[in-house]
């Protein structure tokens, strides 16, 4: 028994050593600490955001500490991250909130402690809970997608399928509603053949599209929450032999998505700019640390329609431009 217990203590000690190995390149006291809290570590959108923030912080001589939730909806993980960052002495925190109302208490706590809080990508509810929001206007991005789809359909009577992300999500709702607005129809319009939940994942996008096609084979326009969902939808359309007849559009501007546009799988996608959000955020924190000046309000980081089949009256860029400015790989 004794030897085992000694062994136990010793091995736990080993694990402790592993931690001490991790201590390389830690922050020196003078650095301005910028905290970044994203939704998850896995989404390439947030990976790009983090890389851009790290690059920008390096350039500005600041120290970036990045944290993330473990899954979409990990409010507790994000709250803990913010608490830790306040403790660490962060000057400002850039946050992509998992849930627009879930973070209100901790954001208030951070701001009361003199920390600048900027929402990236996703606004809080109410929006003035944070100092400023740097984000894509998701409603506007939805409008761009919907308007293009309607125009490109021409004379055909529209029959629309909606491939949503996670119902109730803030971004989800904006994009969904924006699409309908741009398309010129209202929620509940008979032109909507049905909706499916994809969680923004390719496999679920494919299943959702298959089911909707089984329900109504005449679908000719498909809204997708993001490009992975669109890729799934394309696979389903192809297996039904419908890929040429359906106006498949999306939002995001990931490089894989732009390539799909180039290959003609997706008709058009609306690109957003995570690196711009991150870089602007880091700049704002560094400036706040130096001068005490805070940004405020909603700052649209912009969105562009990317397509190789432009239609009259709708501004767009081609995929060559898209591939130069896309994120992820």
């Amino acid at each position: 028994m004794t030897t085992i217990k000694l062994l136990k203590s010793a091995s736990f000690g080993l694990a402790a050593c592993a931690v001490s190995f991790a201590f390389t390149g830690q922050a020196s006291a003078e650095d301005v600490i910028v905290g970044l809290v994203t939704k998850t570590e896995v989404n390439p959108f947030f990976v790009k955001m983090r890389q851009a923030a790290e690059a920008q912080a390096k350039e500005k001589g600041a120290k970036l500490i990045a944290r993330a939730g473990k899954f979409d909806g990990d409010n507790e993980g994000q709250v803990a991250a913010i608490e830790d960052l306040i403790s660490a002495g962060a000057k400002g925190i850039l946050l992509t909130p998992n849930n627009s109302s879930g973070m209100l208490n901790i954001i208030k706590k951070a701001r009361d402690a003199g920390v600048l809080v900027i929402a990236l990508d996703t606004a809080t509810d109410p929006a003035d809970a944070v100092d400023a929001t740097f984000a894509t206007d998701n409603f506007e991005a939805g409008v761009q997608q919907g308007a293009y789809a309607r125009k490109a359909l021409g004379d055909k009577t529209p029959i629309v399928a909606m491939l949503d992300g996670t119902p109730g999500g803030t971004v989800d709702t904006f994009r969904h509603d924006g699409y309908l607005k741009g398309f010129g129809i209202a929620e509940g319009d008979p032109a909507i053949a049905g909706a499916a939940i994809t969680n923004g994942a390719q496999d679920k996008g494919q299943i959702g599209m298959e089911n909707l096609l089984s329900k109504n084979g005449d679908i000719n326009a498909v809204y997708t929450i993001n490009e992975p969902a669109a890729a799934g939808a394309y696979a389903a359309l192809k297996s039904f032999g419908k890929e040429a007849d359906v106006m498949l559009t999306s939002i995001d501007g990931g490089c894989a998505g732009v390539r799909d546009v180039k290959d003609g799988k997706i008709a058009a996608t609306v690109m957003q700019f995570p690196y711009k959000m991150a870089a602007m955020g880091v700049d704002a924190v560094v400036e706040y640390a130096a001068t005490g000046k805070k940004p405020s309000g909603f700052v649209n980081t912009g969105s562009f329609l990317i397509t190789d089949k432009p239609v009259d009256g709708i501004e767009s860029k081609d995929t060559a431009w898209g591939l130069k400015n896309c994120w992820g790989d």
Partner: protein, 328 residues
Amino acid sequence: MSAVPVSPPEKTSGVMAKIIGVPSAGPLLVLLAFGLIFAITNPRFLATHNLSIILQQTVIIGTLAIGQTLVILTAGIDLAVGAICVLGTIIAGKLVTSGYDPALSMAFSVLVCTAAGFAAGGLISGLRLPPFIVTLGILGILTAALRLISAGGAFPVRDEFLGWTGNTLRLGGFIVTYGVLLMFVLYALVWYLLNETKWGRHVYAIGNSPEAARLVGIPVRRHLLSVYLLAGFIYGIGAWLALGRIPNADPNALQTANLDSITAVVIGGTSLFGGRGGLIGTLIGALIVGVLRNGLTLAGIDPLWQDLVTGILVIVAVALDQLSRRKG
């Protein structure tokens, strides 16, 4: 500390032997070692404010891990902890937003969580189904039910009473929330049950050898049912604590609570095979995870290291358990 006082062999003597003899000594040493490393690398770590934050961050998983410990001590496993807890937050939130009395709403939602534990225990002890499968099934059912109840979305819960566990009070320069105190009270109560009463003895006996327990006349199935029932009740209290942490009812929340609570239990030295371990270890296990996450952030290190180190600790703990069981 544990209900299994194992006297050290006569050969070892003195303080060292005493420390080694306590089952939760290993995890405690790890916790102290990490604490020391972090304190040296960043003085902010030991700030009372920071320590208080670590405690607050441990509240939800730490509380859910109490129920998980009880279940694992009977050689079971509970994959539905997080889902039952979220169920509690959503029911309480829905009732209060519909205008019901907050205290009654919370009490009702604790009751529903207890009933969920009762259902799990009933299936496990009554139909003799494996706990893994039963709780996996309940997890699936609740995940769907939660989305349906909440119509897919999260909603804010702005109520004084439901958020009460997040309020702070000052204890000699140390700021704690009522939630932290409540968690400690739960630990103390369940520790007493496990170590000082017949009920606890029988939990260990059943986890050790259900056949032996049956032969000495312990009503094994009824006892198992009571364990899952109590676990469900604790998850219900966990829901109240979760609302104090984040005043938001979100069907997508706490998806990894099952694995996180199992991690705390295992790092704390409780055997997945049942009948060995204890609650103090679990509390230390939960704190180790919290300290790692917080300390690494303070040191400006990628917190992915936390997952890595936690993974190592889990494997070491399980391997040591296996080793000591084989020897015994």
